[in-house]
């Protein structure tokens, strides 16, 4: 069985909101109709978004780190939002595990948004139906697009490649390898929802340079016994002197 999902690398996300804009652009122009946007340039803007990028500060000043945190439907493997829906408008697809809302069946009762612990379902206040991330189901199977573009709009837009897309049930997929090797984790595991989307944690990048590495042992100039004029602590271009 396939379970499509996103893997979001918090170590790489720079919080630029490109995915948010790209998502809104793609989905508001899609066949399912517009996503509302009230007072976009006014005092109190509000509207429906499938994807939000939030920012958190971890630690206490001055020892803080800023984490940008993109958040959209996690396409849970055991989605609590689906069984509560009285109409069957909310459903999880058998073939690829995407959780969708049928806008023609939804009565706008909001019960599913109560039943999602992550706050990723947003009712469209104009169309009065529940909306949420579709993993760009109208894009990823579109054969008129070049193969490389059959990915969610957010993934296409991310300038730092912080968003990976693929089948988390296929152990050899890019996403599964990332989850396995980079310590991918799920949000709020305490509720047993088994989110398909995973997050890759922040990683500390440290490089230890030993003293002997500062001098190039195998410098061919040495072999030729040709002396160098520069002192050993002279500034260099690549942090290692030619001696």
């Amino acid at each position: 069985m396939t379970q499509l999902a996103l893997v979001i690398d918090l170590n790489v996300c720079v919080g630029c909101h490109a995915c948010v804009i790209s998502c809104k652009e793609w989905n508001t122009s899609g066949p399912a109709g517009t996503m509302c946007d009230d007072n976009p340039y006014g005092a109190d803007p509000t509207g429906t978004f499938f994807n939000r990028v939030q920012t958190y500060e971890i630690g206490e000043f001055p020892y803080t780190e800023t984490v940008h945190f993109p958040k959209s439907c996690l396409h849970c493997e055991d989605p609590p939002c689906v069984p509560v829906c009285p109409t069957g408008a909310s459903y999880k697809r058998e073939n690829d595990g995407i959780v969708l809302v049928d806008y023609d069946k939804c009565i706008g009762c909001r019960y599913c948004s109560w039943a999602c612990p992550y706050g990723v379902r947003e009712i469209d206040e104009h169309e009065k139906v529940m909306k949420k991330c579709t993993l760009c189901v109208d894009r990823i199977y579109d054969e008129s697009l070049p193969k490389a573009e059959r990915k969610p709009a957010c993934v296409m837009a991310c300038p730092t490649s912080a968003r990976l897309f693929g089948d988390v049930h296929d152990p050899q997929s890019e996403v599964s390898i990332a989850i396995r090797e980079e310590g991918g984790y799920a949000l709020m595991p305490e509720w047993g929802t088994r989110p398909s989307n995973h997050y890759l944690p922040r990683r500390k990048m440290r490089k230890h340079i030993h003293k002997d590495e500062l001098v190039r042992a195998d410098n061919p100039l040495k072999k030729e016994q040709r002396d160098h004029a520069e002192p050993i602590d002279a500034p260099t271009l690549d942090d290692s002197t030619s001696w």
């Binding site: 429906t48 958190y56 009762c109 999602c116 509720w191």
Partner: protein, 325 residues
């Protein structure tokens, strides 16, 4: 959560309707086993259950205001296998049908004696229809309660007390109304209903207080750490991802001060339990119908506040992601 007035009215109004029907039917069952004199079919059983039907109907209308697409409401009956909301959508009309049938059978005298024992106990057709109504009414209380109790991460709601409180609070208001109603149409029953109304109100006081105590010491399973998966004691949200509001900031939080939340709790305790008991007692003592009506109105006002508080008190874990509220 943000209390939607449509749902507050839906749950309180059908509660009264269900409770009143239970009360009327209890009256008839007592008379069937000769514990009470039987009352006038039209004046009491038919009118009383019609009044219950009116409350149920008002609740149904209120519920439609909650829906974005009320014209598709019929679709909500399809997923009864998994959704308590769907089950409620099926059972509410069923209760209304049975209450209506019960009322019409009494009104038009469509009744036959099915069985009479030597001691005078008897079984009538209306009693059977009423019995079915009783089962459906209890099932409706269960569905309404479970809609809330079934969402496990709304920890204030995820307890059997939620269902018990819906049952007892709804029944209490129905029996108080039955006391007032009988003071006009069946004065002989005022004491009977008054005593039951008192007992049920006291029981509800107990279970509602138990729920308040339980919720005061809830330990939340979700935290900022589990929400974003970062193990650090100091996490502060700097941006929710937007500058204005969104449904997430409006639908899931009550936006009231702590003081307001604290005071409404005491006000609803006073209005739902203590004042109605007082008025009930004095109304029965002085045989004063208006005092009894007042007891019902005060309790209903209390119940609206109780329900408002019930919703407002529930703390949805999604609020962790919207800290800059």
């Amino acid at each position: 959560m943000h209390p939607a007035f449509s749902v507050v009215f839906l749950t309180t109004l059908i509660g009264v309707g269900q409770g009143l029907f239970l009360a009327i039917f209890t009256g008839q069952s007592y008379s069937a086993v000769e514990l009470l004199p039987s009352e006038d079919s039209i004046q009491f059983y038919a009118m009383g259950s019609m009044l219950a039907l009116a409350f149920l109907f008002a609740g149904l209308i209120a519920s439609l205001f909650h829906l974005g697409h009320p014209e598709r409401a019929w679709r909500a009956a399809t997923k009864w296998r998994t959704s308590w909301l769907s089950r409620e959508v099926i059972i509410l009309p069923l209760v209304m049908f049975l209450v209506c049938l019960y009322s019409l059978m009494h009104y038009f005298g469509w009744d036959t004696m099915l069985f009479t024992s030597k001691t005078g106990a008897h079984l009538q057709l209306t009693l059977i229809v009423g019995g079915l109504g009783l089962i459906a009414t209890l099932a409706l209380f269960l569905c309404t309660g479970m809609i809330y109790a079934a969402i496990k991460f709304l920890q204030e709601w995820a307890t059997p007390l939620t269902v018990i409180n819906y049952l007892l609070l709804g029944s209490a208001s129905g029996f108080v109304l039955a006391t007032a109603f009988s003071s006009y149409n069946a004065p002989g029953l005022v004491k009977f209903y008054g005593i039951w109304a008192t007992i049920i109100t006291l029981a509800a006081l107990l279970t509602r207080s138990a729920a308040l105590l339980r919720n005061a010491r809830i330990k939340y399973k979700s935290s900022m750490q589990t929400a974003i998966g970062i193990r650090h004691n100091q996490i502060q949200q700097k941006s929710m991802g937007f500058m204005g509001g969104s449904v997430n900031t409006r639908d899931f939080f009550h936006h009231q001060s702590r003081l307001f939340m604290k005071s409404i709790k005491w006000v609803f305790m006073l209005l739902t339990f203590f004042l109605p008991l007082l008025f009930l007692w004095s109304g029965i003592e002085q045989a004063n119908s208006s005092t009894l009506i007042l007891a019902f109105l005060i309790q209903y006002a209390g119940l609206i506040m109780e329900r408002w508080f019930f919703f407002a008190q529930a703390n949805h874990p999604q609020n962790l992601y919207y800290q800059s509220l």
